[in-house]
């Protein structure tokens, strides 16, 4: 038979956005190594519900590592200790019997806690709304093969576009900077020929919104890249800095938008 484990969980509980939070300690038993972290949380929730207590609220949806909805800081690391893994894809075989696990929400000022482990990440949406798009109304596209895009460029754009918008980069950063998230989107769109027309406008608008939302600046620590479940590279931040600087210079001489 497969081995199971008993664990002690220290979980952040907070009834609502304005309430004061605290850690509660729970025990879960007979957890299979093949269970995902969220399945372990389900077990805890069922246990609490059966005892008439409110379950731990946490965000989750696809449970296959792509929707970006799950969050949680596990033992101090957003999405937990495994590299390039979302919480929903983190399996319990990476923990051991008797271990104590601390579970907190993603902590960052622009991501206020809604309840327990759930946070509000709508600031990311607002960054995209300000410029993270290519203006091309439905029906206005030219034939898809009309503009050849070198494989290298397409691959780079894809590397950048792999971001799932989970916010781990912000939660990992001591400055709560959203440079990796914003850099990924800017790099994705600015590197493609279709995205060039709005390149400067995009960089300026997105950075302005990012700053306005209260995200901190980047001081080249690199925690974001380490925590990113999709291994988005720090190069994206370099490209954002480049594009933003160029845009500012251009904007100085002639407004770009």
């Amino acid at each position: 038979m497969e081995k199971t484990m008993n664990l002690t969980l220290k979980v952040w509980r907070q009834t609502s956005a304005n309430a004061k939070g605290h850690f509660e300690t729970y025990k879960v038993e007979n957890i299979s190594g093949d269970s995902s972290f969220l399945e372990m949380m389900d077990i805890l929730s069922e246990q609490l519900v059966e005892a008439g207590k409110e379950p731990v609220a946490f965000d989750h949806d696809c449970r296959e590592g792509i929707c970006g909805m799950c969050s949680m800081t596990i033992n101090g690391i957003p999405h937990g200790p495994e590299k390039a893994t979302t919480t929903c894809q983190l399996h319990m075989r990476h923990f051991h019997d008797g271990q104590t696990i601390t579970i907190e929400p993603f902590r960052a000022k622009p991501f206020p806690v809604l309840k327990d482990l759930m946070v509000d990440r709508s600031a990311f949406d607002r960054i995209i709304q300000s410029g993270g798009f290519i203006t091309a109304r439905a029906g206005s596209g030219v034939d898809a093969n009309a503009i050849p895009i070198p494989k290298k460029t397409a691959d780079y754009a894809m590397d950048a576009a792999a971001c799932i918008g989970c916010g781990a980069c912000v939660a990992a950063c001591p400055n709560a900077s959203a440079m990796l998230f914003t850099g990924a989107k800017v790099s994705h769109m600015n590197s493609l020929p279709q995205g060039k027309a709005e390149k400067h406008r995009r960089a300026l608008a997105m950075v302005t919104t990012m700053d306005g939302e209260g995200f901190g600046g980047c001081t080249n620590i690199g925690e974001c890249e380490a925590a990113c479940p999709k291994s988005i590279s720090l190069d994206m931040i370099a490209q954002l800095n480049r594009d933003y600087a160029t845009a500012q210079v251009k904007n100085f001489f002639q407004p770009v938008s």
């Binding site: 389900d42 590592g65 894809q89 075989r93 949406d125 596209g141 494989k151 894809m158």
Partner: protein
């Protein structure tokens, strides 16, 4: 129930263009006077909301996730079909149309499918314009791969995350419209009912999943793009939040539900590991381009493998049964999903299954790695292999993957006419939530195509036509002050209070699991009269128990995941009964619907075109009243009905 499909006159290839010409237009200056409600922000909903707003309509869009970018379209891996014929291998609109009708086992509507194939090429153009980073060749042109049920390479892809990239394209377009103030986005809101005024859909009642507040929203029409109902099985590849509530509530308000028994069991999922599991994970069908599906020839060898006494890599060629290649030599490992799933089930039923539970077959890349090198395989499927390793702890480069069928997609849905309008006037349904294009089985890489076709290129026209017909004088006339809103809102609140006040002992999740078990056993890959009749009785019993012994902790205010699940499970239980009734009614086997009484000597599905070439549409008559069946005959003028063969 009026089932006029409104298929335009004229030759198949001209129907859509002539219909577009005949539809009413709304003057650009008048469009802003209309308010369109879109529920769902996936490929169909997100693209429709963005496109309608681009045209100038005022749009409100609702989703239950914390951001429209997270809709479950995001999880599609493999690709999107389009009749571009970039590979010069004989593809055409006609062929994509034909493949889709045949793939659907001749249970879909010709005119809708033709339109889907026709607009498929525009979708790729639009996505590229929006910045979707599709895979490309060194020359800079788009790459393609093949998918199940087709003999041409027409699938466009973005690594193993095509759904995510397409959704991010639609999300970007939607975000632009939100930023411009043309779309009001309501995240973390769940639809709980639909409001009709004088027979037309004019609004919705939603619950704010953060504050718990129940609110009314009025519009000139409503678009539902709320996805499929695969979670009725409890375990499926759907996201945790996917539910049937929006579609089922609309059904209870008068929308006919079509073919609910048509569900797709996808052959390549990671096998179940235990009873605490919350979801099943799909491995893209594209893996079958290079992976070979097999089990040991005999049950004894399979047992040794299951018990870890034999390494499958050591098994000589002669002892392996590559059953898809054996049974379907011309399509081989790329046989369509329904057929591949049944073949896997058959092998496991014979005791030849692998995985600890005996419910698994191998998907082996040994030969492909030998032929093309590990690097090439990594390039094609790297992230899928990584995902597999992460979930199972096994390295698929070294030991063959194990897969088993799992519920993945639902072809049934709300009945819609050619305009994607349901039997409730003014209520449009797009994407997986409608029934229209896939018949009894969906081919791989066609869901993304349909979602975006509906959202970018069909609904923006047909919704405009409806609004034009209503006339500009009617725009914005219905407000939330109308008594119909108060009435439905009161129903919604009463239901929430009822769920909270039962004070029983069993949790929503526990009921959900029990429901899933009944449906999987009796309305899954093999269905029988006896089993379905038993399931209907069991579900009625389960429903009674649910409403007398449910336990929901927490209250109506604020975030309450238990309450959310309870409401969804309540609808799933009722819906499950409808599914079983539909499966019981359909005395034939077609596509994903396999009735054990109706099979050929070789165990293949046996259709009955004489008696069952129709869409089964159910009309709701009351909670304890049997629903009424209506039939829309399927008339094939362009495709000759034939026994589907992939041999």
């Amino acid at each position: 129930m009026n089932l006029d499909s409104k298929i335009p006159e004229g030759p198949l290839a001209e129907k859509w263009s002539s219909h577009k010409f005949n539809m009413k237009l709304v003057n650009p200056a008048n469009r802003r006077k209309y308010h369109v409600i879109v529920v769902g922000s996936g490929l169909a909903g997100g693209a429709a909301a963005a496109s309608l707003a681009e045209q100038g309509y005022k749009v409100s869009c609702f989703c239950y996730q914390d951001s429209p970018r997270r809709a479950h379209s995001i999880a599609a891996q493999g690709g999107i079909n389009a009749a571009k014929n970039y590979q010069n291998d004989g593809d055409s609109v006609q062929r994509l149309f034909y493949d889709t009708v045949k793939g659907g086992d001749y249970r879909s509507r010709e005119a809708n499918v033709y339109r889907l194939a026709e607009v498929s090429a525009d979708i790729i153009d639009q996505c590229v314009a929006n910045g979707v980073p599709f895979a490309r060749e060194y020359g800079g042109l788009l790459a393609n791969r093949s998918f199940g049920g087709a003999q041409v390479s027409r699938t466009f892809y973005a690594r193993g995350q095509t759904g995510q990239q397409l959704l991010l394209g639609a999300y970007a377009a939607l975000s632009r419209q939100i930023g411009l103030g043309n779309v009001k986005m309501h995240n973390r809101h769940e639809l709980l009912d639909v409001v009709k005024v004088e027979g037309h859909a004019k609004g919705i009642i939603v619950r704010n999943m953060v504050s718990g507040e129940v609110s009314r929203h009025a519009g000139d029409c409503v678009v539902l793009a709320t996805g499929g109902y695969g979670n009725v099985f409890f375990l499926s590849t759907n996201a945790q939040g996917c539910n049937v509530t929006a579609a089922y509530r609309a059904h209870k308000r008068g929308a006919g539900f079509a073919n609910p028994c048509y569900t797709q069991i996808h052959p390549t999922c990671i096998p179940v590991h235990g009873d605490k599991q919350s979801k099943l994970t799909l491995m893209s069908e594209s893996l079958r381009n290079d992976g070979r599906v097999w089990t040991p020839m005999d049950a004894e060898t399979a047992k040794q493998i299951r018990e870890g006494r034999l390494d499958p890599n050591q098994l000589p060629e002669a002892d392996r049964d590559y059953f898809l290649e054996r049974k379907y030599p011309s399509f081989g490992n790329l046989a369509p999903r329904d057929i591949s799933s049944r073949a896997a089930k058959e092998a496991c039923d014979e005791g030849r299954g692998v995985a600890a539970t005996g419910l698994g077959v191998f998907l082996d890349f040994r030969d492909a790695i030998k032929r093309d090198g590990q690097k090439a395989i990594e390039e094609r499927y790297g992230n899928l292999f990584e995902m597999y390793r992460c979930i199972t702890g096994d390295n698929p480069y070294e030991t063959p993957m194990m897969i088993f069928p799992a519920v993945h997609y639902t072809m049934g849905g709300l009945w819609v006419d050619y305009n994607l309008e349901s039997t409730i006037p003014g209520m449009f349904v797009g994407g997986e939530a409608n029934f229209s294009d896939h018949g009894a089985n969906r081919l791989g890489a066609s869901a993304l195509m349909q979602g975006l076709a509906d959202g970018y290129f069909v609904l923006p026209y047909t919704v405009g036509n409806y609004l034009g017909e209503q006339g500009v004088a009617a725009a914005g006339k219905v407000t939330t002050d109308h008594p119909a809103f108060a009435e439905v809102e009161a129903d919604v609140k009463a239901r929430i209070n009822k769920l909270l006040s039962i004070n029983g002992t069993e949790t929503p999740r526990s009921f959900h699991k029990r429901l899933g078990q009944i449906i999987w056993n009796q309305c899954g890959m093999a269905r029988s009269k006896e089993g379905l009749e038993g399931a209907i009785r069991d579900l009625q019993e389960l429903r009674k128990e649910f409403w007398s012994n449910l336990k929901v902790v927490g209250g109506a205010d604020g975030i309450n995941p238990e309450l959310e699940r309870a409401g969804r499970v309540a609808d799933f239980i009722e819906f499950g009964e409808l599914m079983c009734r539909d499966a019981l009614m359909r005395e034939e086997s077609c596509g994903g619907h396999f009735r054990v009484e109706h099979q050929t000597e070789e165990g293949e599905a046996l259709r009955d075109d004489e008696n069952y070439a129709f869409v089964g549409v159910w009309e709701y008559l009351g909670d304890d009243v049997e629903p009424n069946l209506h039939k829309e005959p399927l008339i094939y003028e362009n495709v000759k009905l034939a026994t589907r063969s992939y041999k």
